[in-house]
Amino acid sequence: MRYIALTIGPIYKTLQNAKKTRELWGGSYIFSYIMKKIIIAFKDREFIVPYIKDKSIFENKNGVGLFHDRFIFKSQDGDIDKLAQTIDEVLKDISKNSTISYKFLKDYLQINYLEKDIPDDANPILEFSPYLDTLELFYRVGNYRDNELQYFLKNRLNSSFLVKDAFGKKRKSFPSLPEIALHDLKEGSDIVEYIELDDELSVYEKEPYKSKIKRYHKYIAIVQADGDNMGKVVESLKTKKDNNTDYTTKEFEEFSKKLFEYCKISSELIKEFGGETIFAGGDDLLFFAPVVSGDKTVFNLCDEISEKFDKLFVSNKKDSPKPSVSFGVSISYYKYPLYEALETARHLLFDKAKSNSKNAIAFNLIKHSGQTFGAVIHRQNREIYDNFLVFTSNIKGGSDMDNFLHSIHHKIDTYQKVIENIAQDRDRLKNFFDNYFNEEVHNDYKSFFEALIDFMVAVYSDKSIDNEMRLNIIYASLRFVKFVQGDKKKEPKQ
């Protein structure tokens, strides 16, 4: 059976220097756009990846890039030449509709493809991945002096062909950072009217927002998510023979279809939360989100996305590791470079969340002062995970939250050894806090203590986490609560 496989780049290089949310979005969306345009020319072919039978993928107008950076389809005679021609036409078209020259696009884009005959019973994804991985190693340096794409993304993106393709007539551009970060203040006002094109962040100084903003409104979350153990799932797919003794790639189609559904559902969840998806293709997700939305935090959103994924990818093989999703959540101050926050999210995902047992959220919060804190919360242990979610989102504290949280942190720090010994026992832990926080336990902070105790018991009961990590998880969670619930006046003016 003959297939053509293609890969496109350089995506991460393009996202460098992105300073505004729309630049990050545009730098990613243009690749999805190009893939879409190429695939359209072959839409009658049988695609292994992506799933194109649901034609809505081509007509999507919610701004989300749905096309992954690779495709594989069953080829026919002449297709390889047609592909070369199609790529040329797509690039020429982009150049007609923008300030970017055809020559630059040809030089800059790294588009690699091959056509190959593989045995009928072979797994096309497994067969072609090594070839595509190899082709990607040959980066062809361009002869251009000016980066025309960067110029376009910084200066010509609004109302461009790209925005029109992504949003139709709905919007002029991808939402700005304040639009996303100020999500839960948007009720009753059209925030877009207040945002100046050249000075987006000035909206923070304007009413009706200025008097209502809390600390977390000046922060934004960038989340990168990736499927765990998907390689094992791919390996298990077979080109089965159907009744006519023809090989069929139905299993692959179903697999790609599930991925497509996952992407669609996730984008909807993100939108509902007040976030904006930059990219959703394959098992990859990249999105912006406000830290808090209603009574949920961005961690609740991640959990919801995981649940949808779990429902779609039920593992049916007993001894193979269960597929899941891991997240890298980078929460940063609104003036912090977006590209750096993106790199942090990537690092959190691949180096922290995905090490060991995976199925985890690795988060990091970079404060205005440059100070950071964070932890890895494993979803495997539902006790810890659920309590973490409750603790970080449902806490309605009382007065003087900052000082209170600070003294909790201090007390736990001082009595580390004691806590190590008693924290698996709910009653003993309760007595500990009763002793040191007598007033608070019975007044404003009653529910806070209940949630904290449940959380600590869960963390300390997990034998797989060492003591240092336990403390880190507790501290990071306390600091997160302080960040969300604490007094505004603690934040220095800038």
Partner: protein, 322 residues
């Protein structure tokens, strides 16, 4: 005289290339975070040498308000180190006085020399596939080889990250910055060979965006960076500017990475105050890239003599050395 010149960092260093801090508070060109590169550009090395040679020969006047060449020394200075900045695109070979050539920069530890080279040795390339390669398992670009002994290392064994956060005085906005500088671990030093018709002495020099200090040691040495890839692949020893069209038609396959080059161009204005502007970016193939079965057309394009004299476009290929 041929020398082996080594540079020992005396403090964390910051080698720039493209992204720098820009003007204070500059929203567009400025950057909050600047990350050092691992190596200085060859043009920076040349600039450092020219300045140091002039200093050692007494041709450079240094005062608190700046440093310059006095009019009376100008003629001698031009003879000594050449005139004008290095031009990456010069069609002719520029003259740099007593500096006849400099090699690409590399690393040295004891008597072992290390160069950057993509980790092709761990794999076999056959019929379009790099056998055994999985990008999830390995960063093929993060690799340094010892050309005097059988050894290979990753960056983390050589470079130590030093992060510095600070506040720029005088800026209302965008004043917070973060620097990611480096130190070399484990008595590693930078090194390069140079052919100079002058008795260059040891000294303390500065290099990099921050003018970080290095101890420069100069020893007579006839050595060459004569590493040859065991499978006969063309190996870039220095960053290379290649400008043929459709390079994929001139090679069977290659494993390459890109590095950008930019330097300051001085623009004199009528007010006789020299302004510095960043030049346009030039994109190069990074040292350590390899090319499998390069055509003669590609090799011809690599042989840009003006660039080769200062350590760009230097490569090795079995049967041919340049």
């Amino acid at each position: 005289m041929r020398y082996l010149i080594t540079l020992e960092p005396l403090e964390p260093f910051m080698f720039g290339g493209d992204t720098t801090f820009g003007a204070l508070g500059d929203k567009e060109a400025g950057s909050y975070i600047v990350k050092s590169r691992q190596f200085p550009q060859q043009t920076a090395l040349l600039g450092m040498l020219r300045k140091e040679l002039m200093t050692q020969e007494g041709l450079l006047t240094r005062k608190r308000r700046g440093e310059w060449v006095d009019l009376k020394n100008k003629k001698r200075a031009i003879e000594f180190v050449g005139e004008g900045k290095f031009n990456m695109l010069s069609p002719t070979i520029q003259n740099f006085g007593v500096i006849k050539s400099i090699s690409p920069i590399f690393l040295i530890k004891g008597d072992s020399r290390y160069i950057r080279k993509v980790n092709i040795d761990s794999f076999t390339y056959e019929d379009g596939k790099l056998k055994g390669y999985n990008p999830k398992d390995i960063d093929i670009y993060d690799n340094f080889i010892n050309i005097d002994r059988d050894e290979k290392l990753k960056s983390e064994k050589i470079f130590r990250d030093i992060e510095q956060i600070g506040n720029k005085k005088g800026a209302k906005e965008n004043s917070l910055f973060k620097k990611r500088a480096y130190l070399l671990k484990d008595s590693f030093r930078f090194a390069f060979y140079a052919d100079i018709d002058y008795r260059l002495q040891d000294s303390i020099i500065t290099l990099g965006a921050d003018r970080s200090a290095f101890r420069m040691e100069v020893r007579e040495d006839r050595g060459e960076l004569d590493y040859i890839d065991p499978r006969g692949y063309l190996t870039l020893i220095g960053d290379a500017y290649i400008d043929i069209d459709n390079i994929q038609d001139s090679v069977t396959f290659a494993i390459t990475s890109e590095i950008s080059h930019r330097n300051l161009i001085s623009k004199k204005s009528a007010l006789r105050k020299i302004k510095f502007e960043k030049s346009k970016t030039l994109y190069l193939y990074e040292k350590g890239s390899i090319f499998i079965e390069p055509s003669s057309k590609l090799i011809e394009n690599l042989n840009k003599q003006n660039l080769q004299q200062i350590g760009y476009n230097i490569y090795t290929l079995q049967g041919e050395k340049r």
